[in-house]
Symmetry: C2
Subunit: 327 residues, 2 copies
């Protein structure tokens, strides 16, 4: 099942979207918002699955042509966002480039911070109001949206609480990151806003791209029209979604609608294969620096565009794209 939210009020209006992303139908009578659905998933999702099947069969009387521009973030505001730095090469390159080393305990437990959850932008909203001098960067991620997760859940059990996946772009102001992390209290002003891809999909909708632990597929990242990341999402993270959820849930339960990312998708192969690239600018620059001693890829400036999209093995877009400019 594929879901999205039309722009409407603070929380959007829930719609079911066809598998080919061409048609949709409102489902107000079942659940007015994505949060309402997540709050009562076990009761409501089966009703939406029936509507989804009708829509995909061309048998939904209330279907309309999907206008991607009418979409808000699938979950415009929610109660928790925790984001990891689980793809180790992302951390390794960034730290080496600034003369640091990979922390000794990097494999002991996933590195995860509590981030901003109160206002996710739409897939095509501009990155607005940030200062170029703060070094505007994006991060290309695939996020899980969970139901209620009990405290103490195991990594194996944890993925059973994932309701949906969607793309996530975690805007980062690189000039502010190092001084903020130096104070040890985590990211705050340096991670000011995130954006979600237009379409949220249930794990079963991913088919072979979901093995119960990781989401696979080709994550393609274009910056200023050029392909700078051609990444395989399902590899190179020693911690899967289950590990990450279980780590956070050691001392807390999650409420429905929690969003969890594994961090910027990154592949080890980029060290040797220039066609792989990276899922954010700062890592790309780090890789340039490690290889050549200089960094050339520029941070984002007004008018610059970033596009992030996940493709399946047949080259089909799985969950729409994030495609934004800096305003």
């Amino acid at each position: 099942m594929k879901l999205a939210s039309l722009k409407s009020g603070r929380d959007g209006a829930l719609i079911v979207v066809s598998a080919d992303l061409k048609t949709a139908t409102r489902v107000d009578s079942v659940a007015p918002t994505m949060q309402a659905l997540l709050d009562d998933w076990d009761t409501l999702a089966p009703k939406l699955e029936i509507i989804s099947a009708q829509l995909n069969a061309g048998e939904c009387a209330t279907a309309f042509a999907l206008d991607m521009d009418a979409l808000a973030a699938p979950l415009p505001r929610t109660y928790q966002y925790v984001d990891g730095a689980c793809y180790i090469s992302h951390i390794r390159r960034n730290r080496i480039a600034r003369g640091d080393k990979l922390p000794d305990d990097i494999l002991d437990a996933p590195l995860i911070y509590q981030g901003i959850s109160h206002g996710y932008g739409a897939w095509n909203d501009p990155i607005r109001g940030q200062k170029e001098a703060d070094l505007i960067d994006f991060e290309a991620e695939i996020a899980a949206i969970t139901g209620d997760v009990p405290r103490g859940v195991s990594a194996d059990e944890a993925t059973g609480y994932i309701r949906l996946f969607c793309l996530l772009q975690d805007t980062s102001l690189r000039r502010l990151v190092a001084p903020e992390l130096k104070r040890t209290f985590g990211f705050l002003t340096s991670k000011p806003e995130s954006f979600l891809g237009p379409i949220a999909v249930t794990p079963d909708e991913l088919g072979e791209l979901w093995d119960g632990k990781m989401v696979s597929g080709k994550l393609k990242v274009h910056l200023r029209g050029e392909l700078i990341g051609d990444l395989e999402a399902g590899i190179d993270s020693p911690f899967d979604y289950g590990h990450a959820i279980a780590h956070v849930a050691q001392t807390r339960a999650f409420v429905a609608g929690s969003i969890l990312g594994l961090g910027t998708v990154s592949n080890e192969a980029a060290d040797t294969d220039p066609s792989v690239g990276c899922g954010c600018i700062v890592e790309y620059r780090a890789l340039e620096f490690i290889k050549t001693g200089t960094s050339k890829l520029e941070f984002m400036k007004s008018g610059d565009r970033v596009r992030i999209e996940l493709f399946d093995r047949t080259g089909q877009s799985v969950m729409g794209a994030i495609d934004q400019v800096v305003a």
Copy 2:
């Protein structure tokens, strides 16, 4: 105006509470939940002010006797929680006791982290399911609940967006804090849940206790029935609520219902006056260690009780109490 939420569903049912905390009335017809009120404050709050005046005058036909046990957290789940460490003596004592020093940049900007906002416990909910071996501690705080705050707001303007204040207890697992902060990504498993006091009050309701920048009053903290903190809330923080909001809002807007704390209330005078004490165990132990070379106050164990309450200059309780046991 004083407000609270009856236990009901995930978000509670909004009630207006009388100034003396003795009576209340449901206000479903105006706003079913605290979040609904905060989402549309300018329109709805004036209607509730009229009901509040009627209630205080004994002229509210739907008034009932307030049962504190029926109360949830005023805002049981919300979209943002940012918490500071703004009372400097709290940081100073903790760092000195562990052989560290106060960071050089401590006065440059408030030290604030993004915390858990997705499930605030009620004032008398037990602290449940945490391990004693993780060293269970509380933190006594006064939190602001904001409306929508624009990005880039100044410190002077920022307090104009505070809608309510309430007590906050930020449960902390001290064994997990140091290793988590060492990884620089902030608190996560070490700050697993927070609890709010039963009653949220508008700034004007505080009278002389609110000077537009800080909340004053005596914050009394009892642990296992003994007074361990007798603190003046309105002093010893170089950063007020306006500074803290403005710091976070440099790069983000807040959505309505954001909760902001200045951290554990702490007074410089505790260094020399033993009657002052502290607002959490770890700082109390640090102060013991600095003075005597040993720490005697024990962390919380099963059955231990903590009570946190703010009193005005006449000795009246301002916003109810937090009073919990470890289960």
